[in-house]
Amino acid sequence: MGVSFDLGTPVNTALFLYILYSVQRIIFPTTSKPSTIPNEFKAGYSWMPKTHPPTVLFKTYTPKTLEPFNGVDDGRILLAINGTVFDVTGGRNFYGPNGMYGNFAGRDASRGMAKQSFDIEMLTPVDQPLDKLTDLKPDEIENMKGWIEHFSSKYIICGKLVENDAI
């Protein structure tokens, strides 16, 4: 009962060729670089993301140009507090058309934020000059500033609000 070694058999030849090929790969590793830069880290070590992180261009809005951004046709939702415009598209649940605070979308919400009220009376019509907020009490101004802080950390500051005829 001797051991038989026959390299000529198909199975043995196939295995032998495979071993030769793998050993050649180990001793002489491939050094070809891909012709296009991969966009996924799984596709290669030297990869580059396809796009930049999204950024919003800071623009100057008037009450009239701000008004369309009320999320009605699935667009961006903006609102303004004390002259600063915030992009609150992330809070569609609150500020979208069916949200609790939907009145504020596309409008100057300063008075509402200060007085902690979401009534329609807090909003000034778009064709009138901006609400000067002169009759607010100091604690209401503090409240409004608190809201500005909250919005600054939660949402993106993407513009400022000026009078209709300023542009």
Binding site: V3, S4, F5, D6, L7, T9, P10, V11, N12, L15, F16, Y18, I19, S22, V23, R25, I26, I27, F28, P29, T30, T31, K33, P34, S35, I37, F41, Y45, S46, W47, M48, P49, K50, T51, H52, P53, P54, T55, V56, L57, F58, K59, D87, S153, I156, I157, C158
Partner: protein, 568 residues
């Protein structure tokens, strides 16, 4: 009969099959599963900086280092007890280390600083908060001692980034005293006498022994003291204690030449330098921070904020430190530095232990790498295989200097080029110019240590942009119409710097192109810029909100790394 019969004929197996199957299985596992881990996970290299979510028209977003984050505060001190320059000398560490050619402990250093400070106040009649002293010294222990002594008494020190600024600085900002080398004494005296209308008193403190001719030409309104005498005087008497400086006090002013050739100065406060030390420490990852076992060699002069930050990082971490002799500013004779970078090898050395961390310039790197590769390619059989293996490792994000190929090929080459201490080298930081992108991978292979590419500026203590130490990514060359061969990227902003680009084409950026424009930075390690026009300090218009113009055009790639394109 038929198929089954033929099939079993083909599938004859015997003992050799078992052997070959085992070998094939082993080889398969080796090939597919034994892949070395990348030094840093590539997912982190896809987001190297944190970008702001809103941007002004014609500008890019504000970028910060991803580790700091947009909402995080900038780190301004290496540890919570360090507020001013004197705090950088750790009192608790007892071990001596070699600074240039002197072995010294921290306590001894503090004693020397206190003695010199007292001696200067008494003999040179300097007034805290009112005088200022020009340090015309080459990088040496005396420079550090003088700088710290003056800072502890709230006397700003002046330094020059290049020696040809001397006459303009003497005319526009006459110092109360000058500390200089003995061989420069006659030159200084000449300059003082030439500016004849200033007949006030001058005090010059000289390091070393002045020649008798120089001493003979000293006029009556000039007092020349010896550095060692001043120190001895301070040592003998009771030390003068001045109130501690505040971190916002200016402790040094570094004069340099601006782009238009005009004289400009960087006013560094204590906070700037502690922030610079923090940024310089963060160049290497936490696992590789300098320790008292390290030796740092720098080719950046201490008269620049960046060079000073490197020196004080070395002092803070307790490493041995020296600068390259060839990067001295003031020479006895007019010797020129070789511009090909060979001075990193051939230049005279200080007696420090073998350097473990190098802070060098691109020409030094290119010279070292070309020499090492020349030596390594002499082993014609093994070098190609070693090169291929190293390249394959880098393609997977892995690099080490302890591999088989280093032992066979590269260690010898490095030892032949850099001397016996080559094996001690563990990190290299390159600043002060651009490196070709296609030279980065050969440099990494030749040196096999973390290589950091940085961008520096005469106004910033510490690096402005610094690449990740373990970033081994290599991208195929993209033809760039701005530069003939594109420069390697410099990584994200440093840990306490935020950067933005201005003059950006909004349309291109909204369509997804890389923003490119003039680079502006802001941060605690950026010094205040003051221009000197007609001998009067002028605050430049600059950008509001404290953004400082760097004077270069840069581009941001999608992974948050910056590529410096050209000078403006």
């Amino acid at each position: 009969m038929g198929l089954p019969f033929n099939l079993s004929e083909y599938l004859i197996t015997d003992d050799l099959t078992i052997l070959l199957a085992l070998i094939a299985a082993t080889v398969f596992l080796l090939n597919n599963l034994y892949k070395p881990q990348p030094l840093v996970h590539p997912i982190l290299l896809g987001r190297q900086s944190d970008a702001g979510r809103a941007r002004n028209p014609k500008e890019s977003a504000v970028y910060r280092n991803y580790g700091t984050g947009l909402l995080g505060r900038f780190p301004i001190r290496p540890s919570k007890e360090v507020y001013i320059l004197a705090d950088l000398v750790k009192q608790e560490s007892e071990a001596p280390r070699t600074l240039w050619s002197t072995k010294i402990t921290n306590t001894h250093l503090q004693d020397r600083v206190a003695s010199l400070g007292t001696g200067l106040l008494r003999l040179a009649r300097l007034q805290p908060n009112e005088s200022n002293v020009l340090l015309l010294l080459n990088d040496s222990l005396e420079f550090i001692v003088a700088d710290m002594a003056l800072a502890s008494h709230c006397i700003p020190s002046f330094t020059l980034a290049s020696s040809n600024l001397l006459s303009s600085v003497l005319e526009s900002h006459p110092p109360s005293a000058i500390i200089t080398h003995a061989f420069l004494l006659s030159q200084i005296l000449e300059l003082i006498y030439d500016a004849g209308e200033k007949t006030g008193h001058h005090t010059i403190i000289v390091v070393g022994e002045p020649s008798s001719q120089a001493m003979a030409s000293v006029a009556s309104n000039v007092k020349v003291l010896k550095f060692s005498e001043v120190e001895r005087e301070g040592f003998k008497v009771e030390k003068v204690i001045s109130p501690l400086p505040k971190p916002s006090d200016i402790f040094t002013v570094s004069f340099f030449e601006g782009e238009g050739g005009q004289l400009q100065s960087a006013q560094l406060t204590h906070e700037n330098i502690t922030a610079g030390v923090t940024a310089t420490r963060s160049l290497l990852p936490l696992s590789h921070t300098p320790s008292p076992l390290d030796t740092i060699l720098s080719t950046h002069s201490l008269s620049t904020p960046y060079g000073r930050a490197i020196a004080y990082t070395a002092i803070y971490e307790g490493t041995s430190f020296a600068t390259q002799r060839s990067s001295e500013l003031y020479h006895i004779d007019d010797q020129q530095n070789p511009s090909d970078g060979s001075d990193i090898i051939t230049g005279k050395r200080y007696p420090i232990p073998a350097p473990t961390i190098l802070f060098i310039k691109p020409q030094h790197l290119n010279y070292l790498v070309s020499e090492i590769l020349k030596q390594a390619s002499k082993s014609w059989l093994l070098f190609p295989i070693a090169w291929r293996h190293k390249l394959a490792g880098i393609a997977d994000g892995f690099l080490t200097k302890d591999s088989l190929w280093d032992r066979l090929v590269f260690d010898n080459a490095r030892a032949k080029v850099m001397g016996d201490g080559a094996a001690a080298l563990r990190a290299i930081i390159v600043s002060g110019g651009a490196i070709d992108a296609e030279k980065m991978t050969p440099s990494r292979i030749a040196l096999s240590v973390p290589l950091v590419n940085t961008f520096i500026h005469p106004l910033v203590a510490g690096p402005v942009l610094a690449s990740h130490a373990f970033d081994l990514q290599d991208f195929p060359a993209v033809t760039n119409d701005v530069l003939p061969s594109p420069a390697a990227h410099c990584g994200p902003p440093s840990v306490n710097v935020e950067a933005k680009l201005v003059g950006v084409d909004d349309e291109l950026v909204e369509n997804g192109a890389d923003p490119s424009g003039a680079l502006l930075v802001r941060g605690p390690s950026v010094a205040r810029l003051v221009s000197v026009e007609d001998y009067v300090d002028v605050q430049p218009e600059g950008d509001k909100d404290g953004w400082i113009i760097m004077g270069v055009r840069a581009k941001v790639q999608t992974n948050g790394s910056f590529q410096v394109l050209s000078q403006i």
